[in-house]
């Protein structure tokens, strides 16, 4: 049994990859214990905002864009214009939301550090992935269980039975 931490077969002779400490331009002046607690709560608020905004990306924003497209179609009588409005709105809102999410994630990292945590990476990839999974499950339940697959206008669906 190896007990010597230096006995590593020549691997990782220096620091292991990805474990570099955070380098600051100057040593940060940390706040009081109370301020750190407040920062911890602030970080949680930011995390909640990130989660909410991520959820918006997977349902409400696409739905809103579809609604905008349908309104444009109704008002102009042009399906093409409706599709265009829907896509432009979707891309604009999604990229805007992603940009805002990234800023929120950066802010969350700083506030977490201010709260006294050794925060090296952001939370956005995990939150975005998790909300995507949750929304996919919700959509699947709605689609397969609540609404049911098939067209509501063409016969053969559950509504026609």
């Amino acid at each position: 049994m190896r007990t010597d931490p230096a006995d590593n077969g020549g691997l990782f002779v220096g620091r292991r990859p990805g474990t570099a400490p955070v380098h600051f331009r100057s040593l940060p002046q940390r706040g009081s214990e109370r301020r750190r607690r407040i920062d911890g709560s602030f970080a949680n608020l930011l995390l909640a905002a990130i989660v909410a905004l991520s959820v918006l990306c997977w349902g409400p924003i696409p739905l809103a864009c579809l609604w905008l497209g349908s309104e444009a179609d109704y008002l102009s009588g042009s399906v093409g214009l409706g599709i265009l409005v829907a896509f432009v709105g979707l891309f604009g809102l999604l990229f805007g939301a992603l940009s805002l999410l990234r800023r929120l994630d950066q802010a969350w990292i700083l506030v977490r550090r201010a709260a006294g945590h050794d925060q090296r990476t952001g939370v956005l990839p995990r939150v975005f992935g998790a909300t995507a999974a949750v929304c996919a499950v919700v959509f699947a339940v709605w689609f397969l269980v609540i609404h049911g697959p098939g067209s509501s206008t063409i016969s053969g669906g559950r509504s026609s039975l």
Partner: protein
């Protein structure tokens, strides 16, 4: 500090920024390494270069062959080689663990307690010490052969005269004519121990000149060393040469258990394969010595005519210790004279042309 500034201070540096800082630090380290000047040590009279690989190989070979044996007591092979080199019979030459040990042995063999040893001063600090070890008394004499002869006539119980030629630290050479005058002028029972550890560096007369007097002066013993020009101080090999009538005395000086076989092998290989290297070293000293002496004199120093691998110099204002300290500040180490018998002077060893140039620049900066 504003709210935003408070949080901005927790912003990490990007990888590019960190790497740029590291590159800057590395460049700074490199610049410092390139501009760093190693200390130039001119305080020792031994040769600074590492021994020739052939010498090291010979020592290694002998060491592997058998350190479990006692060495050949008379060091026959090295002894014969040295005798042939100096044109004397092997019985006239003995090996020792350095010339210093042989000089001490000779003093003990020659002097009775209470007897006196004359030596010029300043000179090799071992001479007074070896007189004390022989329970005798050292009588330092300032001056030349005349002063020695006067002291020998004045002092009641002189038994030994120890003279270094070239003298350490002054670098003065005792010419053959002066040596002959000294030998002829001394009382009949006084022996002369001539320390020629630095004689290879002299160019005023051939290194073998003093050996010509051995035949006619049985009270003369000449001591040579592998420590200086040969650059093998760590081996501790020296030898003494006497006249045909000095065989019994020489036998008394020999180390009881001889000289280490390893040391003999190194010295023998040096004799056989490093002669050209020694000639180059000596030629370097012959070139640099007049340059350094002239350069120091131009700067107002009082410098004697040296025949050794060093110069003995006095600053017009500073004493030896102050000059040595000032030169040490400039990265040049020299030997202060207070430990060598004359506090006003410093002893500066000679090396390459680059070393001489750096020394003269440092001395000029002090001046």
């Amino acid at each position: 500090m504003g709210l935003l500034d408070y949080y901005k201070q927790f912003e990490a540096m990007s990888e590019e920024e960190v790497n740029a800082g590291l590159r800057e630090e590395a460049a700074e380290r490199k610049r410092k390494a390139l501009t760093r000047l190693d200390t130039l040590d001119l305080s020792h009279t031994t040769w600074p270069e590492l021994p020739h690989p052939r010498v090291v190989n010979a020592i290694t070979f002998v060491a592997r062959r058998g350190l479990h044996r006692y060495p050949h007591l008379r060091g026959s092979e090295l002894r014969i080689e040295l005798a042939e080199r100096h044109g004397v019979e092997p019985s006239q030459l003995i090996l020792g663990n350095g010339a210093a040990e042989l000089l001490s042995s000779a003093t003990r063999a020659l002097m009775e307690p209470g007897q006196q040893l004359l030596t010029t001063w300043p000179s090799y600090p071992l001479y007074p010490l070896m007189a004390r070890r022989a329970h005798g008394q050292a009588v330092p004499v300032s001056g030349d052969v005349d002063a020695l002869l006067e002291a020998a006539a004045r002092e009641p119980n002189v038994r030994v005269v120890a003279v270094a030629s070239p003298n350490d630290p002054t670098g003065e050479l005792l010419s053959t004519a002066e040596l002959a005058r000294l030998l002829d002028g001394l009382p009949g029972d006084v022996a002369v121990l001539l320390d020629e550890a630095l004689v290879e560096f002299a160019d005023a007369q051939p290194p073998s000149a003093s050996l010509e007097l051995l035949e006619s002066h049985p009270r003369l013993l000449v001591f040579r060393s592998f420590s200086k020009a040969w650059g093998l101080a760590g081996l501790r090999v020296g030898y003494a040469i006497g006249g045909p009538g000095a065989t019994e005395l020489l036998a008394e000086l020999e180390p009881d258990l001889g000289v280490s076989e390893v040391s003999q092998a190194g010295a023998l290989e040096a004799l056989r394969s490093c002669s050209e290297l020694i000639d180059l070293r000596v030629a370097t000293i012959h070139e640099e010595r007049p340059r350094v002496i002239a350069g120091l004199r131009e700067l107002g120093h009082e410098v004697g005519d040296s025949q050794a691998n060093f110069v003995w110099t006095a600053h017009p204002v500073l004493d030896g210790g102050e000059l040595a300290a000032a030169l040490a500040q400039a990265g040049v180490l020299v030997a202060a004279g207070d430990a060598l018998g004359e506090p006003r002077h410093v002893r500066i060893a000679l090396r390459s042309r680059a070393a001489s140039d750096r020394l003269l620049r440092a001395v000029a900066a002090v001046a």
